[in-house]
């Protein structure tokens, strides 16, 4: 039997040593009438060879973004990943290790997390990062809950321009907790600071702003800082980590908690999972944070060592008073991000950001010159932007699919049937971009 070590003979020997004649005697606590008499109705077992053929057949039914010319983003981005990343995260030393509770035999995982936390702190300008969350959406929801705990107020003001997936997850995380959510609607693709100012009241625990926002536009985070910090509310910034190589570090606009989706840092899209969320904040809020945190310390010989710390916040100690229920996180994805950032280094991440932004600008300029198309907003953007389309975006997308192009994300969901959200990364060559522009022209002339 695959992956079950003992032979039937060994099994019999062991039963004998235990002092029973058959397995059933070991499970007498299970009422007889509940015990299954037949095997479960599942597919017949397959060998590795058979299963690999099945996987090959199934994956053949998918069309993937490395063959199609893809411009999809919306929080999940296809940046180039050096092969060395997978080499490291495939190592069984990291892959099959347990959560690093036993520090003496987990220094590899622990130090890597410490390095990750350091990198996230550097990118965001924050003082403390946790070891990662499930995804950007749940990290945002947990940041809101954290602000409620800190301020003892009950209402979150959220920019209407945040990712709609985040809105959905925030709703399910907060609705049982009596947290009131108010969305401030966008005006022309961004949030007006005065609208935030109007929304804030004495109940406000936090204001959540995403920049670049879901449409790709930059929000005025400096103006928000001034408004929010006139009150006791916390300023939660949702950011794209790649953008931070060139865009304001959230400390510049005095964000209190910084969260976001980390997938773009060295992780494949994988149909949306695993992803990982990052969460970083100011030191003064460290005891309010959810998730694991690694700290540097020493061992009994005074040697530098790393260990999980501030565990008194966590569920295994505090139970229903814990700052979060999170236990397993997305550790291996966080490791991928750490190796990715180490390989890229300062110059590499900067170049990725530069190429993504400049290529996005090239494409946006190109599209805005085609008859029938225009940029939806007149705001600066990073690697993602919104266009107005001459037909329903859903129709346009279907037409482009036939040309092996994933055109982007249809914004009908947010009430804009003639808008398309387009993402560009460094992976696109000028040819890829020109081909997209040509195809957009063609489908409008069909």
């Amino acid at each position: 039997m695959p992956y079950i070590s003992n032979t039937d003979r060994e099994r019999e020997e062991m039963l004998k040593e235990i002092g029973v004649s058959k397995f059933e005697e070991l499970v007498v606590d299970i009422p007889e009438k509940f015990r299954l008499k037949e095997l479960m109705n599942l597919d017949a077992p397959m060998s590795e060879l058979e299963l690999s053929k099945r996987v090959f057949a199934l994956t053949g039914k998918n069309k993937c973004t490395n063959v199609f010319n893809s411009f999809m983003g919306g929080g999940i981005y296809e940046h180039f990943i050096p092969a060395a990343v997978d080499t490291i995260i495939s190592r069984p030393e990291f892959l099959t290790a347990y959560t690093p509770y036993q520090a003496e035999v987990s220094q590899g995982t622990l130090q890597a997390i410490y390095e990750y936390q350091s990198m996230i702190c550097d990118l965001t300008g924050m003082e403390i990062s946790n070891a990662g969350m499930y995804d950007g959406a749940s990290a945002t929801a947990e940041a809101i809950i954290m602000s409620i705990r800190k301020t003892r107020k009950s209402k979150a003001i959220i920019a209407g321009t945040i990712n709609p997936r985040y809105k959905e997850v925030i709703k399910s995380y907060t609705e049982g907790l009596g947290i009131e959510i108010e969305y401030v609607p966008a005006v022309n693709g961004i949030i007006k600071p005065e609208d935030i100012e109007k929304a804030i009241c004495e109940k406000t625990s936090c204001v959540v702003m995403q920049t670049p926002n879901y449409f790709g536009n930059f929000e005025d985070m400096f103006a928000m800082d001034e408004i929010i910090h006139k009150t006791k509310a916390l300023f939660i910034a949702v950011v794209d980590p790649t953008s931070l190589a060139v865009m304001n570090a959230p400390c510049e606009y005095n964000a209190d908690i910084v969260v976001g989706e980390g997938q773009a840092l060295g992780n494949k899209p994988y149909f949306g999972g695993p992803l990982f969320g990052f969460l970083a904040t100011k030191m003064e809020y460290n005891r309010m944070m959810p998730g694991r945190i690694v700290g540097e310390t020493v061992d009994a010989d005074g040697k530098r060592a790393f260990a999980l710390t501030l565990q008194a916040r966590e569920q295994h100690i505090r139970r229903d008073k814990a700052t979060s229920n999170i236990c397993s996180n997305q550790a291996l994805c966080v490791l991928a991000a750490t190796v990715y950032m180490s390989l890229l280094g300062k110059a590499g991440l900067l170049e990725i950001a530069n190429q993504s932004a400049t290529k996005a600008k090239y494409l946006a300029d190109g599209i805005s010159k085609i008859d029938g198309y225009s940029l939806a907003f007149n705001h600066p953007f990073f690697k993602e932007f919104t266009i107005k389309t001459p037909m329903k975006a859903s129709v346009l997308k279907d037409k482009l699919l036939k040309k092996n192009i994933f055109a982007g994300i249809d914004l009908a969901e947010v009430g804009e049937e003639n808008m398309l959200l387009i993402a560009v990364t460094e992976k696109k060559s000028k040819n890829d971009l020109d081909a997209f522009i040509t195809a957009l022209k063609e489908v409008n002339n069909d």
């Binding site: 060994e10 490395n66 987990s106 590899g108 570090a249 700290g295 009994a300 280094g345």
Partner: protein, 493 residues
């Protein structure tokens, strides 16, 4: 001294290059001054070889399954098949964007559809969501479903979840996150649910009962029928924490013994790798009356086409993950179920029970096993009590013989094993919880048993060896207090 990657950085060194940018636009034309970062980022500057050496060096400091045995109770550290790693690295699984049109992801949806159904079959329930990405995330999902069920019936007052004091910490934490109240009941002297205490805790506000079964002592709850009847009597729902699902695969269906909702830990039961703490998958199965509350979308099959089904959005608890959960983890779990089938899963369960009983039998005269019911399921809980006692009888020195479970655990590290789960469950003083899983061979178990006997002898004769352990690991015991008091959570350079 171990250097961090930052201390190895050499200005100007490069580990990565991109093709020359072929568009002629400057970054400053994209990002106006106001939005530009003021201080440069500070990532390390290293060659690819530098980076590889660094992380390979770190990797050598980890314990992992292929290196040695993990007798880690409640964690089911079974072997993770390598074919699964090859499968998930198929380009047309890795390079799938979650917003791709359905017709371009048919293979991916087919896998998810089959896994949903297979997990429902194994649970003996109606349907399964694959959206939760961890066990605690699954608990949260299941509890939200319980809450939604009561709200839909207009029973907003039903907001109390009863759970035994032997529960994992995530259980009460998840109840709190789901906006309900925890009512904890004491276990009886056998370590099982105390029916009297349970009945006293049940009232009209009872939303449900949350039970790990087999429980955290490794024992199947024999009164399950009475418990379910009592809870269902007030229209409460039965939640099964599936952390210990491994030993009952194909032996009982949770859905047929009174449970209404359960979560799996696919990173335990279905052999997906733990990854040093994640990613896992916390799939949740439910009985028919709860199906409409599952997170949206579900994967459905209409004629021969697989679709993402949002049709129950109105009644659903909503989304708890941006997309469809940890897809790559779920593919591995699917592959595991396909490889074992009904017969193999049952065999895995049986052998996990046999392996645990074999160790318990061989150690029951060596280590104190407080809740010894003659037989256990997949794990059992021992303590340090006899080691302490025997040492004192031998040496007559209380201080020298102050051997804690922690010390025994640390001594196991010296001998090439991971430690068992210790100080859990909380209802056992100085607990050490041992779970071998079915993938370990008799030889491994025999060696482990011999080692445990050896450690007992050390406790009796040379306790200092145990108290000072470990000495052969990459580092020795750490200073936890310093880690908190002199908090250093990032490298500043």
């Amino acid at each position: 001294m171990t250097k961090t990657i930052f201390e190895k950085s050499i200005p100007g060194r490069i580990g990565f290059i991109l093709p020359q940018n072929d568009v002629d636009i400057k970054i400053n034309d994209c990002i106006p001054e106001k939005y530009r970062r003021k201080n440069e980022i500070k990532l390390p500057e290293l060659s690819e070889l530098d980076v590889m050496r660094h992380y390979i060096e770190l990797s050598s400091k980890n314990h992992f399954i292929e290196k040695g045995f993990y007798p880690l109770g409640s964690c089911t550290m079974k072997y993770n098949p390598k074919s699964h790693e090859a499968f998930v690295r198929s380009s047309c699984l890795m390079d799938l964007h979650p917003y791709q049109p359905e017709e371009t992801v048919q293979g991916a949806l087919e896998i998810l559809y089959e896994l949903q159904n297979d997990l429902a079959t194994i649970a003996g329930m109606k349907n399964t969501t694959l959206q939760p990405v961890a066990g605690a995330h699954g608990e949260f999902t299941g509890l939200k479903i319980i809450r939604a069920y009561h709200l839909a019936k207009g029973n907003a007052h039903k907001n109390e979840i009863i759970l035994p004091d032997a529960a994992h910490g995530t259980n009460p934490a998840s109840v709190a996150l789901a906006g309900m109240k925890v009512v904890e009941i004491k276990s009886n002297e056998k370590g099982m649910v105390d029916l009297v205490a349970l009945k006293a805790a049940i009232n009209e506000n009872t939303a449900g009962f949350m039970l790990t079964n087999p429980n955290t002592l490794g024992l199947f709850e024999p009164q399950i029928e009475q418990i379910a009847a009592a809870i269902h009597g007030v229209d409460g729902l039965m939640y099964m924490d599936g952390a210990n699902m491994n030993p009952i695969l194909g032996i009982v269906h949770p859905g047929k013994i009174g449970f209404d909702v359960m979560h799996y830990n696919l990173h335990k039961t279905m052999s997906t790798p733990h990854g040093g703490g994640g990613p896992g998958s916390g799939a949740v199965s439910v009985v028919e009356k709860l199906e409409k509350f599952l997170p949206y979308p579900m994967v459905n099959k209409i004629d021969d086409k697989f679709t993402l089904d949002y049709s129950h959005k109105e009644t659903s608890i909503g989304k708890i993950h941006s997309f469809y959960g940890n897809f790559a983890v779920n593919v591995r779990a699917w592959a595991y179920i396909k490889t074992l089938g009904g017969k193999g899963l049952r065999r895995a369960a049986e052998n996990s029970v046999i392996n645990a009983n074999y160790i318990m039998k061989k150690l029951e005269k060596v280590y104190h096993i407080p809740h010894n019911h003659t037989y256990c399921m997949h794990e059992f809980v021992a303590t340090n009590e006899w080691q302490k006692q025997r040492c004192f009888e031998n040496l007559g020195d209380k201080e020298k013989c102050n051997i804690k479970t922690l010390d025994i655990a640390k001594r196991l590290l010296d001998k090439g094993y991971h430690a068992p789960t210790i100080y859990f469950p909380l209802i056992v003083h100085e607990a050490m919880m041992i779970e071998p899983t079915e993938t370990e061979s008799k030889q491994t178990l025999d060696e482990f048993i011999a080692t445990m006997i050896e450690i007992n002898d050390e406790c009796v004769n040379t306790p200092e060896v145990v108290l000072n352990a470990p000495t052969t690991t990459p580092i020795r015991r750490i200073d936890d207090v310093k880690a908190v008091k002199e908090l250093n959570v990032r490298f500043v350079w």
